[in-house]
């Protein structure tokens, strides 16, 4: 296989990581909403933790994007 083609296939495969991060972010917000609907009074105090979880899950998806960009433009 051509090295250039392998790079592009690798960059495409890296997009799987973005989808995985979508599952993670969806889980974070979904679980928060589930808990918030059970106890709406406690929900506002936990928004900071919600966004920490969101940031951690999102970072891994963004890393997948970085891998794709490195494969296309740098490697």
């Amino acid at each position: 296989m051509d090295a250039e083609a392998a790079k592009l296939i690798g960059a495409g495969l890296a997009a799987i990581g973005a989808g995985m991060a979508a599952i993670g972010v969806g889980t974070v917000f979904g679980q928060f909403l589930e808990g918030a609907l059970r106890n709406p009074g406690a929900a506002d105090g936990q928004q900071g933790r919600l966004f920490i979880g969101f940031a951690a899950a999102e970072l891994l998806g963004l890393l997948a994007f970085v891998v794709a960009m490195i494969l296309i433009f740098v490697a």
Binding site: F51, F54, A55, L62, F65
Partner: protein, 250 residues
């Protein structure tokens, strides 16, 4: 990707063989500061009955103030100027970069989509954590790497993991903002190229592909505005969490 290119506007001068130039990145940083300054100036009138503008500014300050109080406690008050400037600067930079000024021929430059800029902001936050930590606790600051309740047979492993996760913080902090902004702008560029290329290919393609892409693009623009605000919030939130670690050592 023309929109991410740093262009020299004024050649500047040389220091030790390095060119110190005024670029479009620097121009948009200055512009952000000017817009932010005008925004704050309009709201800092200290009227007893606040107008709409003052209410808006007070909402922003109150938001950051309550975030610091929640995450750091009463010691958080002294970090309010830093975290607030950081939050507002990133927020304004992200939103200014999103403005559709290209209609009038001005191409906005999102300097938060460059790792050099976000990296420096992250290092600023990280060095505040280090300085506060060592200033306040001295060498006792290293107990940050051994959390309470670590079993004795894990004492060789936990500090290593904690140390790595501590040292990775500035990278992850800068990387998150930079990649989120870059990815958003690349996505908009890809969608706009769908609209342009399909319309050029003929009316059927234009209606079939171009118009749905354009509708999607409007929705993604709204999403990007949300991301611009969330990323600024996350940056400020994580900064305050890290400062909390330095203040209270777990």
């Amino acid at each position: 990707m023309h929109q991410f290119e740093v262009q020299t506007l004024w050649d500047g001068f040389n220091i030790g063989g390095h060119q110190i130039a005024f670029t479009n990145s620097a121009l948009w940083m200055c512009l952000t500061v000017v817009v932010l300054w005008l925004f704050m100036l309009g709201g800092m009138k200290r009227q007893v009955i606040p107008g709409r503008w003052q209410m808006l500014v007070e909402n922003f300050t109150g938001f950051i103030d309550s975030m610091l109080a929640q995450n750091i406690g009463k010691e958080g008050k002294k970090y309010l100027p830093y975290v607030f400037s950081l939050f507002m600067f990133i927020l304004f930079a992200n939103i200014l970069g999103m403005l559709p000024l290209a209609i009038v021929g001005v191409h906005p430059f999102t300097f938060t989509s460059h790792f050099t800029v976000t990296g420096v902001l992250a290092i600023l936050s990280f060095s505040i954590v280090l300085i506060v930590g060592f200033w306040k606790h001295g060498l006792h600051f290293f107990s940050l790497f051994v959390p309470h309740g670590t079993p004795w047979w894990l004492i060789w492993l936990i500090p290593v993991i904690e140390f790595v996760s501590f040292m990775v913080r500035p990278f992850s902090l800068g990387l998150r903002l930079f990649v989120a902004m870059t990815a958003g702008h690349v996505l908009l560029e890809v969608l706009s190229s769908f609209v342009i290329n399909s319309s050029n290919a003929g009316a059927i393609y234009g209606i079939g592909i171009g118009i749905p892409s354009f509708v999607l693009m409007i929705a993604i623009c709204a999403l990007e505005l949300l991301v611009a605000a969330i990323q600024a919030y996350v940056f400020a939130l994580l900064t305050s969490l890290y400062i909390n670690d330095a203040e209270h050592l777990h």
